[in-house]
Symmetry: C2
Subunit: 282 residues, 2 copies
């Protein structure tokens, strides 16, 4: 089959590589309004050709929307307007707003709302990597609103990429990702700002920073053009989790202020409980 | 030469492996008051024999203190009491309290205060790994208070392990590590507690948690017996950084509450500045 990927960045580009490597697509067409992305995507062999949306969709069996979530809300209805029998899927980090945006569209059934749980702190076509999605989870939202053949095509595609399928309603998805992804980004951004603000001696940070620091600030390198729209669309859930996170930090602060070392030990032992989740394997 | 390592856990055990692998020590003697650690350290070949402190020190040229920082404050004066011409070094994460504890000791000159900037979230002899310290930084504190031959032995040892030497006064060290290490642990502990507290659906966390979540909560698995004493000894610096971190998080909260997306973008762009530090290489 032929696929069109709209937005040939980190996720779109990695998806393009995966579709080709797994032999799922004879041709991958790229759509991107950034000329530099177009050029790089061709140069890196992520896509076979670059076309405008209107020309790409009629030549494709599958259209994958991989743009920031604010752009997706505007683009998805336009893509569905062009669709005859094609399947359309997105790969964005929030689901409720996008599903709402096409709830009344007469081609709603052709759209499969998905979220592959993979990413890095880098962006753009040069950030695309091969083998990206293997052994990760991918979420399919509101399956019941989607045509059976469309869901099946997407399930087969993700299955071929070695992904583990999880089904959820959009609201539940958006709540869960606030916990397991969005809050991690906020803590990492805030930690980077803390260190940059207070620690004037960059050489000292650089020399002393070890693996622990690097792993907690890694996400702070993430692109604001991707993340601001995610926080906009998932504002209430993220606020909820952020409020809880600030109160958890205040408990640590109170322990230090009051020199309550027994309670500090309890808090850390509680946190150790995360082992039972992150050390599990599929 | 022969070395004694007091505390055969993550750091002591990894140091034992490194000393043997680099051919720096003919014999490594382990001292540990935990019988299970003694047994494991012998079984894993981390040490050649296990002895009580009083018997180990006279047979050694070098004594390495690798116990939690609260235990070190009690043990270091005892070790120095036993020393004739040996060199004693510690590898703990805080330096001011320990240096203070032996400031007036008549063998102060034999003690080299060090902090190799390497660790993992695991603990105990089974957490020891080979090749642990290579290409990392190690701090030597208050060099001027130490005998020249003692510092030279330790410098040669760390050099042979492939470490990059950094010299600092104890107070400066403790301030810097609050930024580049201790605060990362607090944010990670608090993030784990946030998720464990609010997200009741463990299966959802498990299924959706991706690399980003894992890297920000990795340190939350760290051992409270090691970390509570670090926070005790570096209480004021950690409180200072933690207060700043909470105010940075409040800025993100205010952006979300007021839907101030321009300022949110600015905050994230500021955080992106951490790239220039963590992406540098020695």
């Amino acid at each position: 089959m032929n696929a069109t990927i709209i937005g040939i960045g980190l996720i779109g580009g990695s998806m393009a590589l995966a579709l080709k490597e797994k032999g799922l697509c004879a041709k991958v067409i790229g759509v991107d309004n950034n000329p530099w992305h177009q050029e790089k995507a061709l140069e890196l062999g992520l896509v076979d050709e670059v076309l405008p949306l209107e020309k790409a969709v009629p030549q494709s069996d599958l259209v994958i929307l991989a743009v920031p979530v604010n752009a997706a809300v505007g683009l998805l209805p336009q893509v569905l307007d062009l669709v005859t029998g094609q399947v359309v899927m997105d790969v964005g980090s929030t689901k409720h707003s996008l599903i709402q945006a096409v709830a009344a569209h007469d081609k709603r059934g052709r759209y499969v709302a998905t979220h592959p749980m993979w990413g890095t702190e880098y962006s753009g076509p040069e950030a695309a990597v091969s083998g990206a999605f293997s052994k990760k989870a991918t979420v399919i939202c509101n399956k019941a609103e989607t045509d059976v053949d469309a869901v099946e095509m997407v399930e087969q595609l993700y299955g071929a990429l070695g992904m583990h399928l999880v089904y959820m309603e959009a609201n539940a998805h958006d709540t869960h990702v606030a916990y397991v992804s969005h809050i991690s980004h906020i803590t990492s951004f805030a930690l980077a700002n803390t260190v940059l603000e207070k620690e004037r001696e960059e050489d000292a940070i650089f020399e002393l920073a070890s693996g622990g620091f690097e792993s907690t600030v890694r996400l702070a390198k993430s692109n604001p053009d991707m993340w601001v729209p995610i926080f906009q669309q998932n504002r209430e859930n993220v606020l909820d989790v952020l409020n809880e996170h600030i109160s958890q930090l205040r408990k640590f602060k109170a322990c230090l202020e009051k020199e309550n070392w027994d309670y500090l030990k309890e808090l850390i032992e509680g946190a150790n409980g995360i082992r039972k989740i992150v050390d599990r394997k599929f």
